[in-house]
Subunit: 187 residues, 2 copies
């Protein structure tokens, strides 16, 4: 029996919920965490828009109501995975305080991470040109750009990652340190 | 370290997919399996209409199209749980061969169990009076009753449980024996 297998048995599930603007760095940081958590013996599942929109939320668009439904379904999945001892890394803009509060309530072992960068910084990183289109009005209701789609910053998140000041490695280090501090991961 | 914990590490996930008419016995049999599988060291998750319609599929009705979407979303959840070593017990009428074939393809470790009883036997057990309403035309498109909602029997299921001939205990025994035969559960 390996040391990893032993840790797996003792481990409990949790969900790290990365919230922040498009191109703030959520996906990059979460992806970088996957091998580190697997190394610690965790089963890891990544949940993001690209994954769930293929099946779970294929019928949903990007209106405020549809985004809420999207988060509601993802929350259900994260809840079931978490209570079955999986480490879930969820990356969703999830712009509303209330939807994140509901996810926290449902999931239980919930680590809210605000991936923070200014709209300008996010736009500068945006290789798909979404922000450009949003600025030009070609995309409507773009979170953080249009008044119709504000980003509500987390009130009391477990962690704020300043991705304008820190690179991926440092952000990943901060998440792992927080997971250790919270007792989800062994040091 | 307990024996159960040891088994947990070695165990792999699977989904037992119970299909059959309303009141055929799916839920009763699946519920009875939960403690037995937990005893074997499995993490167990039950998926059924009552559970998922509260959040995952709250927007869906009972039309053929909505039932297909329902099964599609449930399949996504079962797939993620199964690949994270959970024993999933899913109970859905799931009347179409094609939807079950898709679930099998997506989930992988898939054990299709046809819970079989005649419409008459199911109607006789129906304490909610759904069949009566369906016979009287007060409920439309009721699976197995109306021509608009046929139940397509499984072509090649892993197991057929005849719940007119056998009681719950015998059916549960047959499922456990099949899981052992398929290598999912230790004898």
């Amino acid at each position: 029996m390996t040391e990893n297998a032993h840790k797996q048995v003792d481990s409990k599930g949790f969900t790290v919920w990365f919230t922040g603007l498009a191109c703030s760095g959520k996906t990059t940081i979460a992806d970088a965490l996957v091998p580190l958590l697997r190394q610690k013996g965790f089963k890891v599942e990544r949940l993001d828009g690209d994954v769930v929109r293929q099946s779970l939320t294929r019928d949903l668009g990007f209106s405020a109501e549809d985004r809420r439904k999207n988060i509601e379904r993802v929350t259900f999945v994260a809840k079931l995975l978490t209570r079955n001892d999986v480490a879930v890394l969820a990356t969703f803009i999830s712009p509303e305080v209330s939807m994140r509060a509901n996810s926290r309530k449902e999931i239980g072992n919930f680590v809210e991470v605000h991936v923070k960068a200014s709209v300008e910084a996010c736009a500068a990183r945006d290789v798909k040109g979404m922000y450009k289109k949003a600025f030009e009005g070609l995309i409507k209701d773009f979170t953080g750009v249009h008044d119709s789609a504000p980003y509500e910053e987390p009130v009391d998140p477990e962690l704020v990652l300043d991705t304008e000041r820190h690179g991926v490695d440092e952000c990943v280090r901060q998440v792992m340190a927080k997971l250790v501090e919270l007792g989800y991961v062994d040091a």
